[in-house]
Subunit: 169 residues, 2 copies
DNA sequence: GTGATATCTCTGCCGAAGCAGTAACTGTTG
DNA sequence: CAACAGTTACTGCTTCGGCAGAGATATCAC
């Protein structure tokens, strides 16, 4: 039996984590937008560029799972970034289904140039937090995404089981 | 000078609060979806219904600011809920611009009936958290949204100042 | 090796959200 | 009271993300 964090009797919208997450993300995005919009980026584009810069994703599939973004939609975002000569595509030789992505020199320069403004906005937005609070929030969010990640793959596996079953009772 | 939580030199995508918030919200929404989809609700619809149930919003404007949802989009969501006879609209007599919203009896019953399944899913998703951790996360997120809310209105006010200025040096 | 299945990217389509402009209404100011 | 600015809800247009399916490639079973 899982921990009873919420109960039917006292479940309220305003306390619910889901609501708070959505709200916080939306507000924070609004705070960062000016810094990004000035450079012609959306939040999604920015995160993609940062992931490529940090070497966290080398192809579209990893980006999709990391950002939880639809693969079709991602294709189009990459199209835009490629058209602006910020990202390059290249077929992998090992696995020719895969398309390897990387920042072009121009892309890298653009990202690096934009970081200070983003960092400044971010610090401004988080000004009311102590270092300990931000550290705690980051830790809890990281743990949460890890938990949900595990739960998701677990459920996915169970679903595949059920799908390929029907034989053994 | 604001606290320097992040620095240009060590700013990484995977640690950034914005990214974590987006990711966590998306994953959590996926966990709740089955419980909502079974009743024919989207996450947005659900939050709206819950806010109406809790008396947190009595008209569209408050809902928009609370949920940070576009007013045009909200109109259409309310249209759907009204068509399903879950929510009722009524012109306010005090201020005839305003449309007062409330759950119909059927709407209230539907929401109440769905809560247990949602709560169960939520508890399952948060199973890895201790009570203290969830409490801490909720507190930090609430504080964050409060901070960003204040920052937003402050900037809005400043913008209005600048707009109506141009006279005094 | 051949056939079946899975994976990776991309395309077309649809629904939802954001933006801009509009109409109705309120309150304020001269 | 009359002109004006500010609110509130709504409508059309555009953009973006999610879904389903296609095509190419890889992997596994036999």
């Amino acid at each position: 039996m899982p921990t009873q964090h919420y109960r039917t009797e006292n479940y309220l919208a305003r306390n619910s984590v889901g609501y708070l997450l959505k709200r916080a993300h939306s507000q924070l995005a609004d705070q960062l937008e000016p810094a990004l919009e000035a450079r012609g980026f959306t939040f999604t584009q920015w995160v993609i560029l940062m992931h490529l810069r940090d070497g966290l994703a080398l192809n579209a599939r990893v980006l999709c799972t990391q950002l939880r973004h639809d693969s079709g939609a991602l294709t189009r975002v990459i199209d835009q970034l490629e058209a602006r000569d910020l990202v390059s595509r290249e077929r992998s030789r090992k696995d020719r289904r895969e398309v390897q992505l990387q920042l072009t020199p121009a892309g890298r320069a653009t990202v690096e140039a934009a970081i200070p403004a983003v960092v400044e906005r971010l610090n401004l937005a988080l000004g009311g937090f102590s270092a300990a609070e931000l550290e705690a929030l980051t830790r809890l969010l990281t743990k949460l995404t890890g938990m949900l990640e595990a739960l998701g793959t677990e459920q996915g596996a169970a679903q595949r089981e059920a799908h390929s079953a029907g034989s053994q009772p």
